[in-house]
Symmetry: D2
Subunit: 300 residues, 4 copies
């Protein structure tokens, strides 16, 4: 396995096109483009990794997997009254469908749906308490206390978050926000600013693997359903393509990270900050496709 | 297994809501609502079935799985220049995205995409030859020569096919149709009018199972990718829900049939003519969800 | 007046940008770009003209003004059950709104709405009879029997009319077409292929002028309302701009003609085959803006 | 004239359907429904009025006419780089087109466009200064110093303004806002909360009449163009209908007021707080249609 990962990293380093780093905030825009890391965790937590596997990166929208698990743990299927379960076919920050569907976001992995999910976690609590739960959930899943929020990134997101403010106010205009937009987004921007290495992220993803020895933080049924959502909605309007090329449930973030799950077998984290046109890690996707093919790891 | 299927059928027969039969053509609208059948085929073709398993039904859009496999066999990845691989988020017969995306349908399982796929199969041939290949492919897959086209249904589709004529002419206006709309739709309506029993359909789906003993009509890689498309796009704007509830790749038809695949394990066909709001079989979906849960057959 | 028109033509001939000729059919695509004509008719039919004023051109969508008048004459306000009275904000051949609004076109001046209007004129008659009425109406309005249909253009429109076939079938799928799509489009393409000179068109527009001496083919009230629709919807998604720049009700055609009305004063026809991005005559619009300003002819 | 207005009011009082009062803020929702007023001002300021003509009402979006005139006075045609001149075909607060057109609102009379206009007036100034200019402009136009802002309404708009906050943040995300969303909306909500009687509003509209004796606050050319925009865009997605029924340029507000202009002849203000489905005063529109027909006041 280690050999395969090393070869994969060598191959990636020779790719001519590394995509483009997200540049909507300076903290992300200044990250060196030519970085790549991959880590695979077995259900019981043994790790294989290669590349820049100890470099922390901003997990951004990968956090939506964890907040979805937390929100479902708190309110169960009632969450689905506020957010749907269908791929949107639109960009991650599109507001068009939100108007057509009267304020109920298509799924919890586009921004609007993730904002609703975080709003649910905030119910009856302060942002500090909610964030503590989120970080604690991830640390427990990764079995690693050295996972933190990068506050400079969170501040910068807030300062450049007009599109998300628009989404939050829009949700509020349809009465689909229980807390003030500023409070929800304050929490949301901090959850996105959590930093992890691929080694940490791969281990944190084990609760979705559904295997002997993987952590049972949530029920097997719920883990399956989160994986189903990752498969159909995890890469915005590139979800169909990811399913087609990789064949595994995954969730990407604009920081260049992707968490993918091989049900029953392993949890995989890749990171490369350059993005493709849909906002998903260009080399991360490519590496996962190669790995999945080489290992025969498609779910199909 | 037989016992499980019998129980499933008993349970279904007691469901209060059977949905509504498609009524856009009299041949479908007159079908008695309260029918239900299920069949499971092992990779090597052994069958378990229950309910109205010997009643032929109109496979309609389930045929899109077979024509996709045929078109990919003929032109390979060139097909993807003409049709995409993303869920549409819209109804099966929506024309909105087609305008926004300049005549390239989102995926081969919505009507517009399936029309393009059939157009590809027609290249350089007559409708009769193309239909012979389609029927022959399905018969070979099912290992059953008693599979036929219901010509009265095909005629009725033609007579009531304004929406599909609109789609075909729209594709043509973007130069994404090689043959005349009337010719393509003539073929398309006949392919949709193929009739099969669940026993036949379950066996015909084995080529997607990717197991020891399943027919190798197409490569394992291609079968996986077709399954990925079934997972993300197989149920129109109910695809996310089907993945969430059932956790298996599937393709539904407006005749009430659904073909689902348990990779490496089995091919399943269900039929119940009553549809839900998204145009997918109401009890068929429900039965697959129960069966998948009972057997632990989610891909996740 | 003659002097003003001569100056206007001189100025236009020195314009650097003449736009682009419509090229969706060869008959229009082969028309020499650098042509310009203008004619003004007083209510009682006296004509002033300059430029290529005796060159016939394809009136195309300008015909929609006449067919609207005819359809209203036949069924009155019942027409509005089938077509709206609002600007669409979309391109002339867009199908998006038609889906959102369930087959009722926004207004009678976009293609879909004009197809419905022609369908209404066809009710209970043959295409030949309907076309005879349309041509007869225009001849009577222009007081000129030398107005004809260019059958080669009509044939070519039919051969290249996929987008309009899509619209017609789409309308039919919502039961908003009383006659078969082929019959309605056959009539529609012939009405669009009527040829007129600016001198003929200016005289034909007098029935909308509402002045002493202008023909009273339709009631003053109806003429006003047709002018209102020309003002808000006459130039597709360039209607607001035309109202802003010219300040007169007008209707353009893809052949490069525009009919404009100065209520109570005059009827104006301009023609220059080069179009702007919205499909309206580039120099025709510019000339009307200059003329209106020079003469103080805004309705505002 | 007085007699005509008295008859008009009598007729209105007998209408069975008065529409529905806007209820998104309590200050508007509590206004008694059955009120109606009309006033006509000659260009030199003589007034005819009837009904509740001395009752002040919230002018709301009618204020957009005045802020457009002010902004054009400050930056001229540069304003059009930031906002378009086409009818939107969508609801007044729709955000869909804004995404499709990358943050440039369709016209200055939908909310997004009016927010941009107010942002332009704010350039280099405090909200207090901007509001002082707006109020001063209206007072000068009406020749009446007793025109004020209702601060309770402005506060309530702010507290219930999620949809407008969404629009403003969305504009900001496309860099089409020079000032902070909160500052722009603070100003915008106050401008909407200006209260006037129909007598004041009719006089304030004279600067658009373009007649001997009417105030020349702006150039004749600019007044005409503002009237053109009122004609094509002044009633949101009911603009075509208003042009069709009334035939005059007009601008409505959700408070139930409408300002209409008879070019060269008169300025008209009507008020009745009950709205139709498009958010325009139901009886106000009806009364204007009757008056225009009776007086022969269509621009066409």
């Amino acid at each position: 396995m280690q050999e395969i990962l090393d070869e994969l990293v060598s191959g990636m380093r020779q790719e001519p096109d590394w995509g483009e780093v997200a540049n909507y905030i300076p903290e992300l825009g200044s990250i060196p483009l030519r970085q790549f890391a991959i880590a695979i965790s077995t259900p019981d937590g043994r790790l294989f990794s290669a590349g820049d596997a100890d470099t922390p990166f901003s997990i951004q929208s990968v956090s939506k997997v964890f907040t979805l698990a937390i929100a479902l743990g708190r309110v169960g299927d009632q969450l689905w009254h506020r957010v749907g379960r269908e791929p949107s076919g639109n960009a991650f920050n599109s507001i068009v469908l939100l108007e057509n569907e009267k304020g109920r976001p298509r799924n919890p992995f586009i921004n609007a749906g993730a904002i609703v999910t975080t709003d649910e976690i905030l119910a009856g609590r302060t942002p500090g308490q909610a964030l503590a739960e989120i970080v604690q959930f991830i640390r427990a899943a990764a079995d690693d206390t050295e996972i933190h929020i990068n506050k400079a990134v969170a501040r910068s997101e807030t300062a450049n978050g007009n599109r998300n403010f628009a989404l939050a106010h829009f949700l509020a205009s349809y009465d689909n926000l229980k807390n003030p937009p500023e409070m929800v987004l304050g929490t949301y921007f901090h959850q996105c600013a959590i930093e992890m290495t691929v080694r940490q992220l791969a281990r944190a993803g084990r609760f979705l693997v559904n295997a002997q020895g993987s952590p049972t933080i949530i029920s097997r049924e719920r883990a399956r359903r989160i994986c189903a959502l990752m498969m159909t909605c995890g890469h915005y309007n590139g979800s169909g393509e990811f399913a087609f090329q990789v064949g595994l449930p995954g969730k990407s973030g604009v920081g260049g990270g992707i968490l993918a799950v091989v049900p029953g077998v392993a949890s995989i984290a890749v990171w490369s900050p350059g993005l493709n046109a849909q906002g998903n890690s260009l080399l991360g996707t490519k590496a996962l496709a190669q790995l999945a093919r080489r290992m025969g790891w498609s779910v199909f």
